[in-house]
C-alpha cells in the first residue's frame, strides 16, 4: 500500500491496519525517517518537501511491487509526506511484513534505499533565514546500487 500525504501518521495504527486479521505474519520491520536539525554540518530549522504528484504514486507502487517480487512479503506499506516539516518530525515510513524475519529486514532496507534514489521528492532546507536545495548523495546511489542484479 502507498500513501503520499501532507499530514503526519501513526506507525502503530498503520501496522495494526496492515496486519489486522492476519495470523500468518511472523515479523514486521519498519523504518521511519525523521527530520534532523543538522544536514552536512549546517543547522536545519525547517524543510519543505516538494514532490511530483502522479509520478510519486507511480514510482512508489513500482518499487513496492518490485520488493514483493523479490521477497516473500505478506504485506507492505510506504508512506511519504510532503510539505513543510520541522526537526524531529516523521518524513516517511516503510513497513514490511513477512513470515520470515530476514525477508522483512532485507525488503525494508531495499525500499528505503530505492526511495532515496527513485522517488521524485526534493528537499528545500531552511536554516531559519537562507534556503537551499539538498543535493543527492553518492552514498545513496551506492546503497541503491547494491540491489541491482549483476
Amino acid at each position: 500500500m502507498i500513501k503520499v500525504q501532507e499530514q503526519d501518521f501513526n506507525l502503530a495504527a498503520e501496522i495494526a491496519a496492515l496486519t489486522r486479521g492476519r495470523t500468518d505474519i511472523g515479523g514486521v520491520v519498519s523504518f521511519i525517517g525523521l527530520v534532523r536539525d543538522v544536514s552536512d554540518g549546517a543547522k536545519v530549522a525547517a524543510m519543505t518537501l516538494e514532490h511530483y504528484p502522479g509520478m510519486t504514486e507511480k514510482q512508489l507502487s513500482a518499487i513496492e511491487r518490485d520488493a514483493g517480487a523479490r521477497w516473500p512479503l505478506s504485506a507492505s506499506l510506504i508512506i511519504h509526506r510532503y510539505g513543510r516539516l520541522l526537526p524531529g518530525e516523521q518524513i516517511m515510513a516503510v513497513v514490511t511484513a513477512s513470515a520470515h524475519r530476514q525477508a522483512a529486514f532485507e525488503a525494508a532496507e531495499f525500499l528505503v534505499d530505492w526511495l532515496k534514489t527513485k522517488a521524485p521528492f526534493w528537499k528545500l532546507e531552511s536554516d531559519g533565514g537562507a534556503e537551499s536545495w539538498v543535493a543527492a548523495r553518492d552514498s545513496d546511489d551506492e546503497a541503491a546500487g547494491r540491489w541491482e542484479k549483476g
Partner: protein, 93 residues
C-alpha cells in the same frame, strides 16, 4: 507537450508547468533541453548544466536520448532526495 519543472529548475524557469509546442526537429529529451535553453535567461540557467539535471517522460525516469512526442508529459528536476534524511554510512569494522 506538457512541461513540468521541480525544485530549483522550477525556481529558475519561474513557472511550475506550461504547455509548449516545440518544433518537429525536437525528437529527444536532449533536443528539448537545447530548445528550452534558448527561451530566455531563466531557462538558460535552469538547463545550463546537464549533469545536475534529471528528466521524466510520462512520469517515468528517462535518459536524455529518450524519444519524445507532442502528446507527452515531460518533467525536469534535480536528482531526487526523498526517503528520509538518514544517510548511509560505512559499515563498522
Amino acid at each position: 507537450m506538457k512541461l513540468l519543472y521541480f525544485a530549483w529548475v522550477r525556481q529558475r524557469t519561474g513557472i511550475a508547468e506550461e504547455d509548449a509546442t516545440p518544433p518537429d526537429s525536437v525528437k529527444t529529451v536532449l533536443d528539448l533541453v537545447e530548445w528550452l535553453r534558448g527561451r530566455g535567461p531563466g531557462y538558460a540557467a535552469a538547463f545550463g548544466d546537464l549533469k545536475a539535471l534529471r528528466a521524466a517522460v510520462n512520469q517515468e525516469h528517462a535518459a536524455f536520448d529518450a524519444p519524445i512526442r507532442q502528446e507527452d508529459e515531460v518533467a525536469f528536476f534535480p536528482p531526487v532526495t526523498g526517503g528520509g534524511v538518514a544517510p548511509v554510512d560505512r559499515r563498522p569494522e
